[in-house]
């Protein structure tokens, strides 16, 4: 789907289901650093056929959305608020990694724009290894390799993908390699400099779901605990064993079902 937001072209996947003439609640799936809507390929189409208008969005300068890239989590959250205003209703937000911080911040400080929030691969802080930042800033393919290497659990490095024939690590690396020049570095910097996660968590009033990989090396499970402890609204925490940072790719069936259950409630 292509549409214009703040005079910029925005692109997203809707599971090939048009929003036109439909009134189901809208779920917006927000990708992580250097990625795009296709990271949600195992969830978007399912949600679009299970009671939601689903929009796996390309953030500015990602995928096919027009730039420039936004440089902070707060700016990205404001962009999500603009998206809610565009549709004229509050949104169910699903965010992964950087996208989780964006969803968290939006839910914390723009309450009227958010119906529920689901966070995958999230931590109270997201420091970035300086060599990863350096490689990303230099548009070095090593950045994609590092994220792929750290993003998947030991088990899933060897694959056994529920989607026949697809390589988990191969897909992740190709996706990050496809990012526009400089975008990954900007995204990582936005993650590293964001210090508002706990403050956002304090403010949240909508239901919140955490989907967390036990073997997450990018945002280790323990870094999510302060967020979980801080949130006082209705919360669910799903711990996924033998799962890394790329939760929605490694456990697509479980993520689909947990998102549906959470948002349907």
């Amino acid at each position: 789907m292509l549409f214009s937001l703040n005079k910029k072209q925005v692109h997203g996947a809707t599971g090939a289901v048009s929003f036109e003439g439909r009134s189901e609640p809208i779920v917006v799936l927000i990708h992580g650093a250097g990625m795009d809507r296709s990271v949600w390929s195992q969830q978007t189409r399912f949600l679009a056929h299970h009671g939601f208008r689903a929009l796996a969005v390309d953030l500015p300068e990602h995928g096919h959305s027009e730039g420039p890239a936004l440089e902070s989590v707060a700016e990205l959250a404001k962009w999500i608020v603009d998206l809610a205003d565009y549709f004229g209703e509050s949104l169910h937000l699903v965010g992964h990694s950087m996208g989780a911080l964006v969803a968290l911040h939006t839910a914390g400080y723009h309450k009227n724009s958010v119906s529920s929030v689901s966070l995958l691969g999230v931590g109270a802080s997201m420091p970035v290894h300086p060599e990863l930042q350096e490689a990303a800033d230099a548009n070095d393919v090593k950045a994609a390799q590092l994220i792929t290497s750290w993003g998947h659990s030991t088990r899933h490095h060897l694959g056994n993908n529920p989607t026949p024939g697809l390589s988990m690590t191969g897909g992740t690396q190709a996706l990050i390699e496809s990012a526009s020049s400089g975008v990954l570095g900007i995204d990582l910097m936005a993650c590293a400099t964001y210090d508002g996660a706990l403050g956002s968590a304090e403010q949240i009033e909508c239901p919140i779901l955490f989907l967390l990989g036990a073997e997450d090396k990018m945002t280790p499970r323990k870094t999510a605990q302060p967020l979980i402890d801080t949130v006082s609204s209705s919360k669910s925490v799903i711990d996924l064993p033998e799962t890394g940072h790329m939760v929605m790719i490694e456990e697509p069936d479980r993520v689909r079902q947990e998102l549906l259950t959470h948002m349907s409630n």
């Binding site: 692109h11 195992q42 490095h157 026949p164 024939g165 697809l166 390589s167 191969g170």
Partner: protein
């Protein structure tokens, strides 16, 4: 300095795509000799058919044993996905049929497997797809042959039977400058010798029957999706970038991003044309892939010894193998194939066609048959077998002379291979 950590090639050849079977503990990949899979519910079935959820429906579309082989080869090649097929020719057809429509055009190397040449030169034109054949050694020829309706550049990483070495980087630059993907057949190399995606290739096909399987016991093919080509930016591939009514108007690039090609190939080409790989063949081929690094290392080592023997044999007119200094691509081969440029070579027997025939009739250890990449050493005379449908002119263009004998060097003791070939060469001169 921090470095990415991935399982190495030899480990992935054994493990990628599989974990021990959770219900039985089977360590080896089980043969799922079954056609169909039980749905949890009507909603589950609908989701599978609509590409909303992942899993198996019917073994023409996907099968658990075949899926392990697909994921393993995708991993070894560094691709985003792979689709296995009934044969190597079915793999080439699947790649073409997924991307091209009637009225489209291919620019292909003229030095390719005879079956692939016939497909492109005679069969595909019946369906409105035409091909211009060019010298694979000249990237400029690829560029000059590109037309407005060209949709694919195709070549073999190592040509057949002259073992022309494709400068993958240069030809992929030509293709990408024209907004086209480069598809390479890498059957002779396997991912052990080269990963074409690292050099710019976008699609890889294999006849898995050959070195991947390695034992001459199962026919199969595979299409590997590199996942790096920007189909949307190219704007020439509506099968991937426009809604497909066959799946409720799904647009494959929008939904699946880098995996658009492999998803469409499975959802349409494999499902509708039906050239799927059998689970038993996938099992046999997996046994081969597990020892691929060991076998390929031995194949190329034996090849070096055979080249040395032939080089010193009075009955040999010429040798074609990129590891031989006389080969025009020797320097390129040293750059692209540091482990060795494969185990297929050709040579000319002094005395022409009759001497070549005598040579074939006098080998005893080597087998005379139409295959390559077996564990056993194989020989053939292409002019009278694999390439016999080609005209004299086409044979000459493809570099196939009357005296040409092709050898697929096997895994026997190298001294025994050399002894057998040497004796047959002596007999050819009587």
């Amino acid at each position: 300095m921090v470095e990415p950590e991935f399982r190495r090639f030899d480990t992935r050849a054994l493990h990628a795509g599989q974990h021990p079977d959770p219900s039985t503990g089977s360590r080896a990949v089980p043969i799922h000799q079954t056609t169909s899979y039980v749905f949890d519910s009507v909603d589950h079935a609908a989701g599978l058919y609509n590409l909303e959820t992942s899993g198996h429906i019917y073994s023409r579309i996907s099968n658990p044993t075949v899926a392990v082989l697909e994921e393993r080869i995708a991993s070894l090649e560094g691709g985003v996905g792979a689709v296995c097929t009934a044969s190597g020719m079915a793999a080439l057809h699947l790649a073409v049929a997924t991307l091209l429509n009637s009225g489209d055009h291919i620019v292909a190397s003229r030095n390719i497997y005879g079956g692939a040449f016939i497909l492109m030169n005679h069969t595909l034109p019946r369906f409105g797809i035409t091909t211009t054949f060019v010298d694979p050694r000249d990237p400029e020829e690829f560029a000059k042959a590109i037309q407005k309706n060209t949709r694919l550049i195709f070549a073999e990483t190592l040509g057949n039977p002259g073992i022309e070495v494709l400068d993958i980087d240069a030809v992929s630059d030509v293709a990408h400058a024209a907004g086209l993907p480069l598809c390479v057949d890498s059957t002779f190399c396997t991912p052990y010798l080269i990963n074409p995606i690292e050099h710019g290739a976008d699609i890889i096909t294999h006849s898995a029957t050959k070195f991947l399987g390695g034992h001459g016991i199962a026919i199969g093919g595979v299409v590997v999706d590199g996942g790096r080509f920007d189909w949307d930016a190219s704007g020439k591939f509506p099968t991937l970038t426009e809604p497909y009514e066959g799946y409720h108007n799904i647009t494959f690039t929008e939904e699946f991003g880098p995996a658009a090609l492999s998803m469409r190939a499975r959802a349409e080409g494999l499902k509708d044309f039906g050239a799927c790989m059998s689970p038993a063949n996938a099992f046999y081929l997996l046994q081969g892939v597990e020892t691929l690094p060991l076998r390929m290392a031995k194949h190329v080592e034996n090849t070096k010894q055979v080249i040395e023997m032939l080089d010193n044999h009075d009955a040999v007119q010429w040798i074609k193998h990129p590891d031989h200094p006389s080969h025009p691509d020797h320097d390129l081969a040293k750059r692209l194939y540091p482990k060795g440029a494969g185990a297929i070579l050709s040579f000319g027997v002094k005395g022409g066609r009759d001497a070549g025939r005598k040579f074939i009739d006098n080998v005893s250890l080597a087998s005379h048959l139409a295959n390559v990449g077996d564990a056993k050493t194989l020989v053939i005379h292409p002019g009278s077998t694999t390439h016999q449908q080609m005209s004299d002119e086409d044979l000459e263009t493809a570099g196939i002379s009357e005296d040409l004998v092709r050898v697929s060097v096997g895994l026997e003791d190298a001294d025994d291979i050399c002894s057998d070939l040497s004796k047959a060469l002596r007999a050819s001169q009587r």
